[in-house]
């Protein structure tokens, strides 16, 4: 399934985005720069607060862990020094998960919080774009699964995983526009070579290809390149905002 994004659709938040891919739908909202509480105030830079809210129930250790990962990644992306002593608040609400995962069948996937992470990161980034928070670069994130037979699967859907039967490790990567690695989280058993292969695959899909566009085609004929997707989303936003210029 291809990715879909809607920007700035919430009225109260300064920036918002809904991002859906592979049955995951996440609503992200950004408020900022706003007043910061004394205890969180940083004298030289903006504090970043990330709230991850699960679809069911209230957040637990799993969400706190995801929040700390996202917070650490965004901190290097946002030009925090331009807004000292303020707060940038990122709220990510999980709206829906793939059926298997919410029903608790997707064995390995359910037990891992990592599969959710790339979707949260992409949503957070889109919401930051919508809030016009100054950023140093873009972010695209994806996950790769290594099966027990050593095969690499790029962000597989839950049915793909059920078919692959056993999984050895899951890896999440995030890249900047300059193809530098912003985040790498892995879980399971793997060696360095496998990790490098996974990283290359993710980089290929996350970053813009200098080569021919045809290379980005997935087996199903879908364009999976996230950087191009991002550009399309922004283009849509700009066209919408500047409609008055071209309208009669």
């Amino acid at each position: 399934m291809s990715s879909k994004a809607v920007l700035s659709h919430l009225h109260r938040a300064d920036g918002s985005a809904t991002y859906s891919q592979n049955g995951y739908t996440i609503i992200g909202a950004v408020n900022g720069p706003v007043d910061v509480q004394r205890r969180d105030e940083l004298p030289e830079e903006a504090a970043i607060e990330v709230n991850v809210r699960p679809a069911v129930g209230v957040g637990g250790p799993r969400e706190r862990h995801l929040e700390s990962l996202i917070q650490a990644t965004l901190r290097h992306l946002i030009l925090v020094r331009s807004y000292p002593r303020t707060l940038i608040q990122v709220t990510l609400q999980v709206r829906s998960l793939p059926e298997e995962e919410s029903a608790g069948i997707g064995s390995v996937l359910t037990n891992s919080s990592l599969t959710l992470l790339p979707h949260l990161l992409n949503t957070a980034f889109l919401a930051l774009l919508s809030a016009s928070i100054p950023l140093s670069t873009t972010l695209t994130s994806a996950f790769v699964v290594i099966t027990s037979s050593g095969k690499l699967l790029y962000s597989p859907s839950s049915t793909d995983i059920l078919r692959a039967q056993s999984i050895r490790s899951i890896h999440v990567f995030a890249f900047s526009a300059q193809r530098s690695l912003l985040l790498s989280e892995g879980e399971g058993e793997f060696d360095v070579e496998e990790w490098e292969d996974a990283c290359d695959l993710a980089e290929d899909r996350c970053c813009r290809n200098a080569g021919i566009a045809g290379e980005n085609m997935d087996v199903d004929g879908e364009v999976m390149n996230l950087a191009d997707f991002l550009r399309d989303v922004v283009k849509e936003k700009v066209v919408k905002e500047q409609k008055w210029k071209t309208a009669p």
Binding site: L10, H11, R12, A13, S16, G23, T25, I27, A29, N31, V34, D35, Q37, E49, N51, R53, A55, V56, G57, V58, Q89, T91, Q93, R95, S96, E99, S102, A103, I105, T159
Partner: protein, 292 residues
């Protein structure tokens, strides 16, 4: 510490003056709702309600647990409302505001204690196993009318939800997943809907479905919950000023009309969704066959 910003004195004055001239900011009559939208997700039990600029998502989930020892024949049903900073930076995680407390209390009274859901039907084996149902209410966008929107969302989501099928053999119960057996809709006894009236000038002016600005100007609110048969489930009045009893009676009449409309609206949306789902379900099955 962070509080919702007060509206300016100019706005307050203007809104009150306009109301006295029978004009609402968005040009609606006093007794009309904003445009209501309702959509369901791909999964069962997710309702997305948009009331003007307010947006609320309710989500029902079920799991199997042991019932409370003093209520052996009843399943468990909980409603959880937690505001997140998404709707406004004034909402802090883990620190409920007054609005949040009032919202959760009213939903509790209207839906849970009002007996909308037949909890006995959630019992699997008396005393040992039952379904525990949970409704999560997510406030995504806030422009007033949270109580009405949340109530519609929860009631619609409950009607949309399907619980897994079970088979009981003596002491053993088997729970079938969605793939194994077609899940079963919940048994609901009635569908309560909340209608909030905001009053100004000691009840001289009664507004249905106030938006955020009007909520900040009002003297108080009266929340009436009833079903389409005109049975009142609860009435709550907040704000100190007294309101004429006759006005209140009049409110229940208006509420009944609104409740009938909204119930019909939810029903039509549910039917639409069922139709869509039927086609989709067949298609999904076919494509799964092909893949194998």
């Amino acid at each position: 510490m962070p509080r919702e910003a007060d509206i300016s004195a100019n706005e307050r004055e203007f809104i009150q003056q306009a109301l006295r001239e029978n004009i609402r900011l968005d040009g609606r009559p006093f007794d009309s709702f904003r445009s209501l939208e309702l959509s369901f997700g791909d999964e069962y039990g997710v309702a997305d309600v948009q009331l003007g600029k307010t947006r609320v998502i309710a989500r029902i989930s079920a799991e199997v647990t042991a019932p409370f020892p003093d209520r052996k024949f009843d399943g468990i049903f909980n409603i959880s409302t937690e505001f997140s900073p998404m709707a406004s930076p004034a909402f802090e995680v883990g620190r409920p505001t007054d609005a949040e407390v009032i919202l959760s209390r009213i939903l509790e009274k209207a839906i849970r204690r009002g007996g909308a859901l037949d909890t006995e039907s959630l019992c699997i084996i008396a005393g040992t196993k039952c379904f525990s149902l949970r409704a999560d209410v997510h406030i995504v966008d806030h422009d007033g009318g949270l109580i009405d929107a949340s109530c519609i969302a929860v009631v619609a989501a409950l009607q949309h939800f399907r619980r897994p099928d079970v088979a009981v053999e003596g002491e053993n119960a088997t729970i079938f997943s969605i793939r194994e057996r077609e899940p079963i809709p919940l048994s609901m006894l009635h569908h309560p809907i909340c209608v909030t009236f905001s009053y100004c000038d000691s009840g001289e002016i009664m507004l249905v479905d106030a938006n955020l600005a009007e909520e900040q100007v009002r003297e108080g609110e009266v929340v009436i919950t009833m079903n389409k048969h005109g049975e009142v489930c609860q009435i709550a009045k907040y704000g100190g000023t007294s309101v004429d009893a006759l006005t209140l009676l009049n409110c229940t009449n208006v509420a009944l009309e609104k409740v009938k409309d909204i119930t019909k609206f939810i029903q039509s949306k549910l039917e639409q969704d069922a139709k869509k789902r039927d086609v989709g379900g067949l298609m999904a099955e076919l494509s799964a066959e092909n893949a194998r």
